[in-house]
Symmetry: C2
Subunit: 176 residues, 2 copies
């Protein structure tokens, strides 16, 4: 920004709200008046967070019939892929702190989706396994995610872009 422009801006700004308000009121149709996002729409963190909220919202909507949150779905997926691991291992790979993982497992276990089993090798640890119901629910959940959730992303971005997006996000998650 040039100096003169800055001066103009400053003067305009000191006269500030009143003038801006009048200018808006003089506009043809004075209903919506959306704010200018400006540089915000280029900020990685801003757009990333808003996209994440939208995706989670859609995920919850798709999973309404199964009552699974994204976090719960990730636990079921991980336990299915890695049976016989204990709470500490599963929690830490998901970035969940052990204390906070307890209530989460209490919930899944109370719904008979997974089970804690005392390890015979190390009687301190609880080994995690999916129940039959847990496997069935997870199977249905996967189908719902594929057909309703990820399919939505495909029709929005296209398959190639979808893969590129996942790859870039993974890179950020792992190397940033």
């Amino acid at each position: 920004m040039t100096v003169s422009k800055a001066a103009e801006k400053s003067a305009e700004a000191t006269a500030k709200g009143a003038e801006a308000a009048r200018a808006r009121k003089d506009a043809p149709d004075d209903a919506g008046e959306a704010l200018q996002l400006g540089e915000l729409s280029e900020q990685l963190g801003y757009v990333l967070k808003r996209a994440q909220l939208k995706v989670f919202e859609n995920f919850l909507h798709c999973m309404a019939s199964l009552q699974l949150t994204p976090a719960q779905f990730s636990v079921l997926l991980l336990v299915e892929k890695n049976p016989g691991r204990n709470q500490t291992e599963v929690a830490s790979t998901l970035g969940i702190l052990r204390p906070n993982f307890v209530a989460m497992l209490d919930n899944l276990e109370s719904r008979d989706l997974c089970a804690r089993i005392r390890s015979t090798n190390d009687r301190r640890s609880h080994i995690l396994v999916l129940t039959d119901k847990g496997k069935a629910v997870l199977s249905r959940a996967k189908k719902l995610v594929a057909t309703k959730h990820e399919a939505r992303l495909n029709e929005l971005l296209g398959g190639a872009n979808r893969e590129a997006l996942i790859a870039m996000l993974s890179k950020i998650a792992n190397e940033f």
Copy 2:
């Protein structure tokens, strides 16, 4: 779960768990034993959330000297770009609920970064403006973000990919 089913599960699971544990112990180098992420690494929500956490973490680190959170930065940016708007307008464009916006503004105002001004048109509303200090801090914040934060993304993805990523995330945020 029925009693009989529980008993079956318990037996099957203990066997599977022990088997898996032995299998891992027989592995060549038995140190880390990272879990298999499996389909999780392809889940949009999962990778999106983890990327967002990493980006926010890096943002806070870059902003340590200015003590600005991503949300605070977004408020300053929006108020700078749209002077003379009231709390409701600014909060709603950022997806912040008015009640929660109050404490946020209290904080920024107590640090003399922005100011609430009673509107003369509508004495209910408070018009938001950046203070001189607020403008100066925001200016420094922008430089920090550009040189330390977004630059990091550029060297990780490359400029073209960075723009493509922002564009796709924006599309998701707006059209998903």
